[in-house]
Protein backbone atom coordinates (compact mmCIF):
# COMPACT_ATOMS: atom_id res chain seq x y z
CA UNK A 1 0.00 0.00 0.00
CA UNK A 2 1.25 3.41 -0.90
CA UNK A 3 -1.01 5.41 1.36
CA UNK A 4 -2.63 4.32 4.60
CA UNK A 5 -4.68 6.29 7.05
CA UNK A 6 -6.50 5.12 10.13
CA UNK A 7 -9.56 6.76 11.67
CA UNK A 8 -11.17 6.00 15.00
CA UNK A 9 -14.95 5.52 15.14
CA UNK A 10 -16.69 5.72 18.50
CA UNK A 11 -19.91 3.97 19.46
CA UNK A 12 -22.97 6.26 19.54
CA UNK A 13 -20.90 9.28 18.47
CA UNK A 14 -23.69 10.85 16.43
CA UNK A 15 -22.17 14.31 16.74
CA UNK A 16 -19.22 13.33 14.59
CA UNK A 17 -21.23 11.07 12.28
CA UNK A 18 -20.12 11.47 8.68
CA UNK A 19 -16.87 13.27 9.41
CA UNK A 20 -14.60 10.36 8.58
CA UNK A 21 -16.31 9.62 5.28
CA UNK A 22 -16.22 13.35 4.46
CA UNK A 23 -12.47 13.34 5.06
CA UNK A 24 -12.02 10.29 2.87
CA UNK A 25 -14.10 11.92 0.14
CA UNK A 26 -12.01 15.08 0.33
CA UNK A 27 -8.79 13.10 -0.07
CA UNK A 28 -10.11 11.34 -3.14
CA UNK A 29 -11.00 14.70 -4.68
CA UNK A 30 -7.48 15.95 -4.01
CA UNK A 31 -6.20 12.79 -5.61
CA UNK A 32 -8.19 13.47 -8.76
CA UNK A 33 -10.23 10.24 -8.64
CA UNK A 34 -13.07 10.07 -11.19
CA UNK A 35 -16.18 11.87 -9.82
CA UNK A 36 -18.48 8.89 -10.44
CA UNK A 37 -16.21 6.61 -8.40
CA UNK A 38 -15.92 9.21 -5.63
CA UNK A 39 -19.71 9.23 -5.37
CA UNK A 40 -19.81 5.44 -4.94
CA UNK A 41 -17.05 5.49 -2.33
CA UNK A 42 -18.73 8.42 -0.54
CA UNK A 43 -22.00 6.50 -0.27
CA UNK A 44 -20.38 3.22 0.81
CA UNK A 45 -18.03 4.79 3.35
CA UNK A 46 -20.79 6.96 4.82
CA UNK A 47 -22.99 3.89 5.32
CA UNK A 48 -20.07 2.00 6.83
CA UNK A 49 -19.29 4.81 9.24
CA UNK A 50 -22.91 5.17 10.36
CA UNK A 51 -23.20 1.39 10.75
CA UNK A 52 -20.23 1.32 13.10
CA UNK A 53 -21.60 4.21 15.17
CA UNK A 54 -25.05 2.63 15.50
CA UNK A 55 -24.42 -1.10 15.72
CA UNK A 56 -20.86 -1.66 16.91
CA UNK A 57 -18.97 -1.05 20.10
CA UNK A 58 -16.65 1.20 18.11
CA UNK A 59 -13.53 0.54 16.12
CA UNK A 60 -11.41 1.79 13.28
CA UNK A 61 -11.84 2.65 9.65
CA UNK A 62 -8.76 2.35 7.51
CA UNK A 63 -8.23 3.86 4.10
CA UNK A 64 -5.65 2.25 1.85
CA UNK A 65 -4.79 3.59 -1.55
CA UNK A 66 -2.43 2.06 -4.06
CA UNK A 67 -1.80 2.65 -7.74
CA UNK A 68 -5.04 1.26 -9.07
CA UNK A 69 -7.32 0.49 -6.15
CA UNK A 70 -8.84 1.90 -3.00
CA UNK A 71 -9.65 -0.21 0.01
CA UNK A 72 -11.66 0.70 3.09
CA UNK A 73 -11.47 -1.64 6.05
CA UNK A 74 -13.91 -1.22 8.90
CA UNK A 75 -12.95 -3.23 11.96
CA UNK A 76 -15.00 -3.03 15.14
CA UNK A 77 -14.70 -4.72 18.50
CA UNK A 78 -18.10 -6.38 18.61
CA UNK A 79 -20.80 -7.48 19.17
CA UNK A 80 -20.72 -9.19 15.77
CA UNK A 81 -23.41 -9.88 13.17
CA UNK A 82 -25.22 -13.15 14.08
CA UNK A 83 -26.62 -13.81 10.61
CA UNK A 84 -24.72 -12.04 7.81
CA UNK A 85 -27.06 -13.34 5.09
CA UNK A 86 -30.05 -11.85 6.88
CA UNK A 87 -28.22 -8.56 7.50
CA UNK A 88 -27.50 -8.34 3.77
CA UNK A 89 -31.22 -8.35 2.93
CA UNK A 90 -32.63 -4.98 1.96
CA UNK A 91 -34.87 -3.61 4.66
CA UNK A 92 -33.63 -5.89 7.41
CA UNK A 93 -32.50 -3.89 10.42
CA UNK A 94 -31.81 -4.41 14.11
CA UNK A 95 -31.67 -0.68 14.81
CA UNK A 96 -33.49 0.60 17.88
CA UNK A 97 -36.49 2.92 17.71
CA UNK A 98 -34.35 5.84 18.90
CA UNK A 99 -31.96 5.33 16.01
CA UNK A 100 -34.83 4.99 13.54
CA UNK A 101 -36.27 8.25 14.79
CA UNK A 102 -32.98 9.87 13.81
CA UNK A 103 -33.59 8.73 10.24
CA UNK A 104 -31.25 5.77 10.27
CA UNK A 105 -31.88 2.06 10.45
CA UNK A 106 -33.75 1.55 7.18
CA UNK A 107 -31.92 -1.71 6.65
CA UNK A 108 -30.09 -0.44 3.58
CA UNK A 109 -26.60 -0.07 5.07
CA UNK A 110 -24.94 -3.31 4.06
CA UNK A 111 -26.86 -3.69 0.78
CA UNK A 112 -25.84 -0.15 -0.24
CA UNK A 113 -22.23 -0.79 0.68
CA UNK A 114 -22.30 -3.94 -1.39
CA UNK A 115 -23.96 -2.23 -4.33
CA UNK A 116 -21.52 0.66 -4.41
CA UNK A 117 -18.28 -1.29 -4.00
CA UNK A 118 -16.55 -3.58 -6.49
CA UNK A 119 -15.99 -6.14 -3.79
CA UNK A 120 -17.26 -6.48 -0.25
CA UNK A 121 -16.09 -9.00 2.29
CA UNK A 122 -17.50 -9.51 5.79
CA UNK A 123 -16.04 -11.50 8.60
CA UNK A 124 -17.84 -11.52 11.91
CA UNK A 125 -17.69 -13.04 15.36
CA UNK A 126 -18.87 -11.77 18.75
CA UNK A 127 -15.35 -10.34 19.15
CA UNK A 128 -15.84 -8.06 16.21
CA UNK A 129 -16.79 -7.55 12.58
CA UNK A 130 -14.47 -6.63 9.75
CA UNK A 131 -15.96 -5.29 6.54
CA UNK A 132 -13.59 -4.82 3.64
CA UNK A 133 -14.67 -2.66 0.71
CA UNK A 134 -12.63 -2.65 -2.48
CA UNK A 135 -12.85 -0.20 -5.37
CA UNK A 136 -10.97 -0.32 -8.66
CA UNK A 137 -9.70 2.95 -10.07
Amino acid sequence: MIYTRDYEIKKDDFVAAGEVSARIKNKLKQLGVDPALIRKIAIASYEAEINMIIHSLGGHMQLDIDEDSIMITCADTGPGIPDIELAMQEGYSTASDTVREMGFGAGMGLPNMNKNSDNMHIESSPAGTTVTLKFQM
Binding site: I2, Y3, R5, G18, S21, A22, K25, N26, K27, K29, Q30, L31, G32, P35, A36, I38, R39, A42, I43, Y46, I65, E67, N112, M137
Partner: protein
Amino acid sequence: MEKYFHSVRLEKEKCSGCTNCIKRCPTEAIRVQKGKAKILKERCIDCGECIRVCPYHAKNAVTDPLSSISQFKYKIALPAPALYAQFKMVNQVDKVDRVLSGLKTMGFDDVFEVAKGAEICAKAIAKELEKPGNRPLISSACPAVVRLIQVRFPELLDNVVKVDAPVEVAAKVAKEEFAKKNNVDISEIGAYFITPCPAKMTSIKSPLAKEKSDVDGAISILEVYGLLTGQLKSADAKRFDGVKASAKGIGWANSGGETFAVGEKNALAVDGISNVAHALEDIENDKLKDLDFFEGLACVGGCVGGPLVFESAFVAQSRVQKICDEIGFDQTVEEQAEEYADSGVATTKKQMEAVDVMKLDDDRMEALRKIQQIEELVQKLPGMDCGSCGAPSCRALAEDIVRGHAQEMDCVFILKEKVRYLAEEMVDLASKDKISEDETE
Protein backbone atom coordinates in the same frame (compact mmCIF):
# COMPACT_ATOMS: atom_id res chain seq x y z
CA MET B 1 -13.26 35.56 -23.98
CA GLU B 2 -11.49 35.22 -20.63
CA LYS B 3 -11.39 31.70 -19.29
CA TYR B 4 -12.36 32.89 -15.84
CA PHE B 5 -14.30 36.11 -16.11
CA HIS B 6 -15.34 37.28 -12.69
CA SER B 7 -17.79 39.95 -11.73
CA VAL B 8 -16.64 40.01 -8.11
CA ARG B 9 -13.53 42.18 -7.76
CA LEU B 10 -11.39 43.66 -5.02
CA GLU B 11 -10.75 47.35 -4.51
CA LYS B 12 -7.24 47.16 -3.12
CA GLU B 13 -7.17 50.62 -1.50
CA LYS B 14 -10.17 49.78 0.67
CA CYS B 15 -8.95 46.34 1.78
CA SER B 16 -7.59 46.27 5.32
CA GLY B 17 -6.32 42.71 5.07
CA CYS B 18 -8.71 41.38 7.73
CA THR B 19 -9.96 37.80 7.79
CA ASN B 20 -13.71 38.29 7.30
CA CYS B 21 -13.87 37.28 3.65
CA ILE B 22 -11.39 34.40 3.73
CA LYS B 23 -13.38 32.79 6.52
CA ARG B 24 -16.74 33.01 4.77
CA CYS B 25 -15.84 32.10 1.20
CA PRO B 26 -17.58 28.78 0.40
CA THR B 27 -14.85 27.62 -1.97
CA GLU B 28 -11.84 28.94 -0.01
CA ALA B 29 -11.08 31.22 -2.95
CA ILE B 30 -9.61 34.17 -1.05
CA ARG B 31 -6.18 34.61 0.52
CA VAL B 32 -4.70 37.65 2.19
CA GLN B 33 -1.23 38.29 0.88
CA LYS B 34 0.96 41.25 1.79
CA GLY B 35 -1.93 42.77 3.70
CA LYS B 36 -4.44 42.64 0.84
CA ALA B 37 -7.05 40.10 -0.14
CA LYS B 38 -6.57 38.20 -3.35
CA ILE B 39 -9.31 36.27 -5.16
CA LEU B 40 -8.21 32.97 -6.71
CA LYS B 41 -9.82 33.08 -10.14
CA GLU B 42 -10.22 29.37 -10.75
CA ARG B 43 -12.00 28.86 -7.43
CA CYS B 44 -14.28 31.91 -7.25
CA ILE B 45 -17.94 31.17 -8.02
CA ASP B 46 -19.10 34.82 -7.86
CA CYS B 47 -21.63 34.14 -5.13
CA GLY B 48 -20.94 37.58 -3.67
CA GLU B 49 -20.71 36.36 -0.08
CA CYS B 50 -17.49 38.39 0.33
CA ILE B 51 -19.25 41.54 -0.90
CA ARG B 52 -21.76 41.06 1.89
CA VAL B 53 -19.31 40.32 4.69
CA CYS B 54 -16.60 42.91 3.92
CA PRO B 55 -16.93 45.66 6.55
CA TYR B 56 -14.82 48.03 4.40
CA HIS B 57 -16.81 47.52 1.17
CA ALA B 58 -13.60 46.54 -0.55
CA LYS B 59 -15.33 43.87 -2.62
CA ASN B 60 -17.61 44.90 -5.41
CA ALA B 61 -19.20 43.53 -8.52
CA VAL B 62 -18.47 44.71 -12.01
CA THR B 63 -21.68 45.17 -13.95
CA ASP B 64 -22.55 47.20 -17.02
CA PRO B 65 -23.37 50.90 -16.70
CA LEU B 66 -26.82 52.00 -17.81
CA SER B 67 -25.18 54.00 -20.60
CA SER B 68 -23.95 50.75 -22.21
CA ILE B 69 -27.40 50.10 -23.65
CA SER B 70 -26.75 52.72 -26.35
CA GLN B 71 -24.58 50.17 -28.18
CA PHE B 72 -27.75 48.73 -29.63
CA LYS B 73 -30.34 50.32 -31.86
CA TYR B 74 -33.16 48.63 -29.93
CA LYS B 75 -32.92 48.02 -26.19
CA ILE B 76 -34.95 45.65 -24.07
CA ALA B 77 -34.87 45.65 -20.27
CA LEU B 78 -35.16 42.29 -18.53
CA PRO B 79 -36.08 43.10 -14.92
CA ALA B 80 -35.48 40.40 -12.30
CA PRO B 81 -38.60 39.85 -10.18
CA ALA B 82 -36.52 40.92 -7.15
CA LEU B 83 -36.56 44.45 -8.61
CA TYR B 84 -40.27 44.87 -7.87
CA ALA B 85 -39.63 44.36 -4.17
CA GLN B 86 -37.17 47.25 -3.90
CA PHE B 87 -39.84 49.92 -3.78
CA LYS B 88 -42.28 50.71 -1.02
CA MET B 89 -45.28 51.91 -3.08
CA VAL B 90 -47.74 51.45 -0.24
CA ASN B 91 -51.38 51.10 -1.25
CA GLN B 92 -50.58 50.91 -4.92
CA VAL B 93 -51.97 47.85 -6.59
CA ASP B 94 -50.22 48.46 -9.91
CA LYS B 95 -46.67 48.18 -8.51
CA VAL B 96 -45.34 46.00 -11.31
CA ASP B 97 -46.97 48.21 -13.97
CA ARG B 98 -45.23 51.23 -12.52
CA VAL B 99 -41.82 49.56 -12.44
CA LEU B 100 -42.15 48.31 -15.99
CA SER B 101 -43.30 51.65 -17.37
CA GLY B 102 -40.63 53.37 -15.27
CA LEU B 103 -37.96 51.27 -16.96
CA LYS B 104 -39.30 52.24 -20.38
CA THR B 105 -38.89 55.91 -19.59
CA MET B 106 -35.22 55.24 -18.80
CA GLY B 107 -34.31 54.57 -22.41
CA PHE B 108 -35.53 51.07 -23.09
CA ASP B 109 -37.70 50.37 -26.11
CA ASP B 110 -39.36 47.45 -24.45
CA VAL B 111 -39.48 45.54 -21.19
CA PHE B 112 -39.73 41.77 -20.85
CA GLU B 113 -40.11 40.34 -17.39
CA VAL B 114 -37.61 37.67 -16.37
CA ALA B 115 -40.54 36.27 -14.38
CA LYS B 116 -42.10 35.34 -17.73
CA GLY B 117 -38.93 33.47 -18.63
CA ALA B 118 -39.21 31.77 -15.25
CA GLU B 119 -42.70 30.51 -16.07
CA ILE B 120 -41.39 28.92 -19.26
CA CYS B 121 -38.53 27.33 -17.27
CA ALA B 122 -40.99 26.00 -14.69
CA LYS B 123 -42.92 24.18 -17.41
CA ALA B 124 -39.72 22.84 -18.96
CA ILE B 125 -38.46 21.57 -15.59
CA ALA B 126 -41.81 19.89 -14.88
CA LYS B 127 -41.38 18.02 -18.17
CA GLU B 128 -37.82 16.98 -17.25
CA LEU B 129 -39.17 15.62 -13.97
CA GLU B 130 -41.52 13.34 -15.89
CA LYS B 131 -38.55 11.64 -17.55
CA PRO B 132 -36.62 8.95 -15.69
CA GLY B 133 -33.05 9.78 -14.68
CA ASN B 134 -30.83 11.03 -11.88
CA ARG B 135 -32.59 12.19 -8.73
CA PRO B 136 -32.86 14.67 -7.23
CA LEU B 137 -32.79 16.95 -10.24
CA ILE B 138 -30.96 20.10 -9.23
CA SER B 139 -32.17 23.54 -10.29
CA SER B 140 -29.89 25.43 -12.67
CA ALA B 141 -31.39 28.83 -11.88
CA CYS B 142 -28.70 30.07 -9.48
CA PRO B 143 -25.39 30.32 -11.37
CA ALA B 144 -23.38 30.54 -8.13
CA VAL B 145 -24.81 27.19 -7.02
CA VAL B 146 -24.09 25.60 -10.40
CA ARG B 147 -20.51 26.87 -10.15
CA LEU B 148 -20.27 25.55 -6.60
CA ILE B 149 -21.23 22.14 -7.97
CA GLN B 150 -18.58 22.44 -10.70
CA VAL B 151 -15.88 23.26 -8.17
CA ARG B 152 -16.81 21.19 -5.12
CA PHE B 153 -19.35 18.57 -6.22
CA PRO B 154 -18.49 17.66 -9.83
CA GLU B 155 -20.11 14.22 -9.44
CA LEU B 156 -23.49 15.97 -9.14
CA LEU B 157 -23.22 17.82 -12.48
CA ASP B 158 -25.33 15.11 -14.14
CA ASN B 159 -28.15 15.92 -11.73
CA VAL B 160 -28.35 19.56 -12.82
CA VAL B 161 -31.53 19.97 -14.85
CA LYS B 162 -30.94 20.65 -18.54
CA VAL B 163 -33.06 23.77 -18.57
CA ASP B 164 -31.65 27.24 -19.05
CA ALA B 165 -31.86 30.02 -16.46
CA PRO B 166 -34.98 32.26 -16.63
CA VAL B 167 -33.02 35.35 -17.76
CA GLU B 168 -31.56 33.48 -20.75
CA VAL B 169 -34.97 32.22 -21.81
CA ALA B 170 -36.44 35.69 -21.28
CA ALA B 171 -33.75 37.27 -23.48
CA LYS B 172 -34.30 34.77 -26.26
CA VAL B 173 -38.07 35.09 -26.30
CA ALA B 174 -38.00 38.88 -25.84
CA LYS B 175 -35.71 39.34 -28.82
CA GLU B 176 -37.70 36.97 -31.03
CA GLU B 177 -41.01 38.64 -30.18
CA PHE B 178 -39.63 42.17 -30.57
CA ALA B 179 -38.01 41.38 -33.92
CA LYS B 180 -41.22 39.86 -35.24
CA LYS B 181 -43.47 42.63 -33.97
CA ASN B 182 -41.33 45.49 -35.23
CA ASN B 183 -39.89 43.74 -38.24
CA VAL B 184 -36.25 44.33 -37.29
CA ASP B 185 -33.16 42.15 -37.25
CA ILE B 186 -32.34 40.33 -34.00
CA SER B 187 -28.70 41.50 -34.16
CA GLU B 188 -29.92 45.07 -33.71
CA ILE B 189 -31.56 44.26 -30.38
CA GLY B 190 -29.75 44.39 -27.06
CA ALA B 191 -31.27 42.64 -24.03
CA TYR B 192 -30.16 43.91 -20.61
CA PHE B 193 -30.74 42.09 -17.35
CA ILE B 194 -31.52 44.28 -14.34
CA THR B 195 -29.72 42.04 -11.90
CA PRO B 196 -29.63 41.50 -8.14
CA CYS B 197 -26.54 39.35 -8.44
CA PRO B 198 -22.93 39.32 -9.70
CA ALA B 199 -23.01 35.61 -10.60
CA LYS B 200 -25.53 36.40 -13.34
CA MET B 201 -23.09 38.92 -14.78
CA THR B 202 -20.45 36.21 -14.84
CA SER B 203 -22.74 33.70 -16.47
CA ILE B 204 -23.51 36.20 -19.20
CA LYS B 205 -19.82 36.79 -19.92
CA SER B 206 -18.85 33.12 -19.68
CA PRO B 207 -21.99 30.96 -19.90
CA LEU B 208 -22.10 27.54 -18.27
CA ALA B 209 -24.54 25.61 -20.39
CA LYS B 210 -24.14 27.25 -23.80
CA GLU B 211 -21.55 28.84 -26.06
CA LYS B 212 -22.88 32.36 -26.06
CA SER B 213 -25.39 34.08 -23.83
CA ASP B 214 -28.52 35.64 -25.32
CA VAL B 215 -28.26 38.40 -22.75
CA ASP B 216 -26.12 41.33 -23.87
CA GLY B 217 -25.39 42.93 -20.53
CA ALA B 218 -26.26 43.12 -16.87
CA ILE B 219 -27.05 46.31 -15.01
CA SER B 220 -27.20 46.10 -11.23
CA ILE B 221 -30.42 46.92 -9.40
CA LEU B 222 -28.41 49.38 -7.30
CA GLU B 223 -27.39 51.23 -10.48
CA VAL B 224 -30.98 51.83 -11.60
CA TYR B 225 -32.50 52.17 -8.14
CA GLY B 226 -32.14 55.94 -7.71
CA LEU B 227 -33.24 56.87 -11.18
CA LEU B 228 -36.11 54.41 -11.20
CA THR B 229 -37.41 55.64 -7.83
CA GLY B 230 -37.72 59.09 -9.36
CA GLN B 231 -39.54 57.71 -12.40
CA LEU B 232 -42.00 55.84 -10.20
CA LYS B 233 -42.95 58.99 -8.38
CA SER B 234 -43.62 60.93 -11.53
CA ALA B 235 -45.44 58.06 -13.18
CA ASP B 236 -49.18 58.60 -12.91
CA ALA B 237 -49.97 54.95 -12.62
CA LYS B 238 -49.08 54.49 -16.25
CA ARG B 239 -50.36 51.26 -17.66
CA PHE B 240 -47.91 48.85 -19.14
CA ASP B 241 -49.18 47.46 -22.42
CA GLY B 242 -48.23 43.84 -22.79
CA VAL B 243 -48.73 40.48 -21.18
CA LYS B 244 -47.38 40.40 -17.66
CA ALA B 245 -46.03 37.54 -15.61
CA SER B 246 -48.23 35.85 -13.03
CA ALA B 247 -47.49 35.16 -9.38
CA LYS B 248 -45.87 31.86 -10.36
CA GLY B 249 -43.09 33.67 -12.21
CA ILE B 250 -42.62 36.54 -9.79
CA GLY B 251 -42.42 34.13 -6.88
CA TRP B 252 -39.03 32.90 -8.16
CA ALA B 253 -37.50 35.95 -6.43
CA ASN B 254 -37.99 34.14 -3.11
CA SER B 255 -36.46 30.87 -2.08
CA GLY B 256 -38.97 28.09 -2.78
CA GLY B 257 -40.70 30.08 -5.52
CA GLU B 258 -39.23 27.97 -8.27
CA THR B 259 -40.26 24.75 -6.58
CA PHE B 260 -43.80 26.09 -6.22
CA ALA B 261 -43.96 27.13 -9.88
CA VAL B 262 -42.64 23.77 -11.03
CA GLY B 263 -45.37 22.16 -8.94
CA GLU B 264 -43.14 19.47 -7.47
CA LYS B 265 -44.23 18.44 -3.99
CA ASN B 266 -41.33 16.09 -3.30
CA ALA B 267 -38.80 18.91 -3.34
CA LEU B 268 -36.47 20.84 -1.10
CA ALA B 269 -35.53 24.52 -1.31
CA VAL B 270 -32.41 25.68 0.51
CA ASP B 271 -31.02 29.22 0.59
CA GLY B 272 -27.70 30.67 1.72
CA ILE B 273 -24.54 29.38 0.07
CA SER B 274 -23.15 27.50 3.08
CA ASN B 275 -26.52 25.82 3.67
CA VAL B 276 -26.63 24.84 0.01
CA ALA B 277 -23.13 23.34 0.32
CA HIS B 278 -24.32 21.24 3.29
CA ALA B 279 -27.37 20.04 1.38
CA LEU B 280 -25.22 19.13 -1.64
CA GLU B 281 -22.98 17.18 0.71
CA ASP B 282 -26.08 15.21 1.81
CA ILE B 283 -27.08 14.62 -1.80
CA GLU B 284 -23.54 13.42 -2.49
CA ASN B 285 -23.87 10.91 0.35
CA ASP B 286 -27.18 9.70 -1.09
CA LYS B 287 -29.07 10.88 1.97
CA LEU B 288 -31.62 12.64 -0.25
CA LYS B 289 -32.04 10.01 -2.93
CA ASP B 290 -35.80 9.87 -2.42
CA LEU B 291 -36.04 13.55 -3.29
CA ASP B 292 -37.14 14.55 -6.80
CA PHE B 293 -36.17 18.20 -7.00
CA PHE B 294 -33.61 20.38 -5.25
CA GLU B 295 -33.67 24.15 -5.44
CA GLY B 296 -30.54 25.78 -4.05
CA LEU B 297 -30.08 29.54 -3.97
CA ALA B 298 -26.81 31.18 -2.93
CA CYS B 299 -28.38 34.17 -1.23
CA VAL B 300 -30.35 34.11 2.00
CA GLY B 301 -34.03 34.50 1.15
CA GLY B 302 -33.37 33.79 -2.52
CA CYS B 303 -32.63 36.33 -5.28
CA VAL B 304 -34.20 39.07 -3.13
CA GLY B 305 -31.11 38.68 -0.94
CA GLY B 306 -28.68 39.32 -3.79
CA PRO B 307 -25.64 41.51 -3.06
CA LEU B 308 -26.68 44.12 -5.63
CA VAL B 309 -30.06 45.05 -4.20
CA PHE B 310 -31.11 48.01 -2.10
CA GLU B 311 -33.73 46.58 0.23
CA SER B 312 -33.08 44.05 2.99
CA ALA B 313 -33.79 40.46 2.00
CA PHE B 314 -36.51 40.10 4.61
CA VAL B 315 -38.40 43.21 3.67
CA ALA B 316 -38.12 42.27 0.01
CA GLN B 317 -39.23 38.71 0.69
CA SER B 318 -42.44 39.87 2.32
CA ARG B 319 -43.09 42.38 -0.48
CA VAL B 320 -42.69 39.69 -3.13
CA GLN B 321 -45.25 37.64 -1.25
CA LYS B 322 -47.64 40.56 -1.21
CA ILE B 323 -47.17 41.34 -4.90
CA CYS B 324 -47.78 37.67 -5.74
CA ASP B 325 -51.00 37.68 -3.73
CA GLU B 326 -52.22 40.78 -5.55
CA ILE B 327 -51.35 39.53 -9.02
CA GLY B 328 -52.50 35.95 -8.63
CA PHE B 329 -52.29 33.18 -11.18
CA ASP B 330 -53.01 33.53 -14.88
CA GLN B 331 -54.11 30.59 -17.01
CA THR B 332 -53.30 32.36 -20.30
CA VAL B 333 -49.74 33.15 -19.23
CA GLU B 334 -49.25 29.55 -18.17
CA GLU B 335 -50.58 28.16 -21.43
CA GLN B 336 -48.29 30.47 -23.36
CA ALA B 337 -45.34 29.37 -21.21
CA GLU B 338 -46.25 25.75 -21.86
CA GLU B 339 -46.16 26.37 -25.62
CA TYR B 340 -42.74 28.00 -25.39
CA ALA B 341 -41.45 25.17 -23.20
CA ASP B 342 -42.69 22.63 -25.75
CA SER B 343 -40.81 24.48 -28.48
CA GLY B 344 -37.57 23.71 -26.61
CA VAL B 345 -36.56 27.34 -26.09
CA ALA B 346 -35.47 26.59 -22.51
CA THR B 347 -33.64 23.33 -23.11
CA THR B 348 -29.86 23.28 -22.86
CA LYS B 349 -27.63 20.78 -24.60
CA LYS B 350 -24.05 21.63 -23.65
CA GLN B 351 -22.60 19.32 -21.01
CA MET B 352 -21.24 21.27 -18.06
CA GLU B 353 -17.66 20.49 -17.20
CA ALA B 354 -16.10 19.96 -13.80
CA VAL B 355 -13.57 22.53 -12.64
CA ASP B 356 -10.59 20.67 -11.29
CA VAL B 357 -9.44 22.87 -8.44
CA MET B 358 -9.19 20.28 -5.70
CA LYS B 359 -6.82 17.92 -7.47
CA LEU B 360 -3.28 18.29 -6.11
CA ASP B 361 -1.42 16.82 -9.05
CA ASP B 362 -2.11 15.20 -12.43
CA ASP B 363 0.14 12.34 -11.41
CA ARG B 364 -1.73 10.22 -8.88
CA MET B 365 1.37 9.06 -7.01
CA GLU B 366 2.58 12.63 -6.74
CA ALA B 367 -0.87 13.67 -5.50
CA LEU B 368 -0.70 10.95 -2.82
CA ARG B 369 2.70 12.23 -1.70
CA LYS B 370 1.24 15.72 -1.47
CA ILE B 371 -1.70 14.47 0.61
CA GLN B 372 0.83 12.96 3.00
CA GLN B 373 2.81 16.20 3.15
CA ILE B 374 -0.38 18.14 3.90
CA GLU B 375 -1.21 15.79 6.77
CA GLU B 376 2.28 16.17 8.23
CA LEU B 377 2.02 19.95 7.98
CA VAL B 378 -1.43 20.01 9.58
CA GLN B 379 0.09 18.18 12.58
CA LYS B 380 2.79 20.82 12.81
CA LEU B 381 0.52 23.87 12.50
CA PRO B 382 -1.22 25.16 15.66
CA GLY B 383 -4.75 24.25 14.51
CA MET B 384 -6.21 27.57 15.65
CA ASP B 385 -7.46 28.53 12.20
CA CYS B 386 -6.72 32.15 13.10
CA GLY B 387 -6.32 33.28 9.52
CA SER B 388 -3.27 35.43 10.27
CA CYS B 389 -1.34 33.66 7.52
CA GLY B 390 -3.95 34.79 5.02
CA ALA B 391 -5.44 31.32 4.46
CA PRO B 392 -8.88 30.45 5.90
CA SER B 393 -7.63 27.55 8.04
CA CYS B 394 -4.47 25.70 9.03
CA ARG B 395 -5.43 22.92 6.65
CA ALA B 396 -5.82 25.42 3.81
CA LEU B 397 -2.37 26.86 4.59
CA ALA B 398 -0.90 23.36 4.56
CA GLU B 399 -2.44 22.84 1.12
CA ASP B 400 -1.10 26.18 -0.10
CA ILE B 401 2.40 25.29 1.12
CA VAL B 402 2.32 21.93 -0.65
CA ARG B 403 1.01 23.58 -3.81
CA GLY B 404 3.93 26.02 -3.60
CA HIS B 405 1.86 29.14 -2.93
CA ALA B 406 2.86 29.72 0.69
CA GLN B 407 5.59 28.97 3.24
CA GLU B 408 5.65 27.56 6.75
CA MET B 409 6.91 30.92 8.03
CA ASP B 410 3.61 32.49 6.96
CA CYS B 411 2.22 30.97 10.15
CA VAL B 412 2.81 33.50 12.94
CA PHE B 413 3.11 30.75 15.53
CA ILE B 414 5.76 28.87 13.61
CA LEU B 415 7.51 32.17 12.99
CA LYS B 416 7.37 33.04 16.70
CA GLU B 417 8.76 29.63 17.54
CA LYS B 418 11.58 30.13 15.07
CA VAL B 419 12.37 33.61 16.43
CA ARG B 420 12.43 32.24 19.96
CA TYR B 421 14.77 29.49 18.89
CA LEU B 422 17.08 31.95 17.14
CA ALA B 423 17.01 34.28 20.15
CA GLU B 424 17.99 31.40 22.44
CA GLU B 425 20.78 30.44 20.07
CA MET B 426 22.07 34.01 20.16
CA VAL B 427 21.94 34.19 23.95
CA ASP B 428 23.69 30.88 24.05
CA LEU B 429 26.38 32.06 21.63
CA ALA B 430 26.81 35.35 23.50
CA SER B 431 27.27 33.58 26.83
CA LYS B 432 29.79 31.18 25.27
CA ASP B 433 31.61 34.19 23.93
CA LYS B 434 31.62 35.70 27.44
CA ILE B 435 32.98 32.50 28.96
CA SER B 436 35.82 32.41 26.51
CA GLU B 437 36.55 36.07 27.30
CA ASP B 438 36.55 35.30 31.04
CA GLU B 439 38.93 32.45 30.49
CA THR B 440 41.47 34.58 28.66
CA GLU B 441 41.59 37.14 31.46
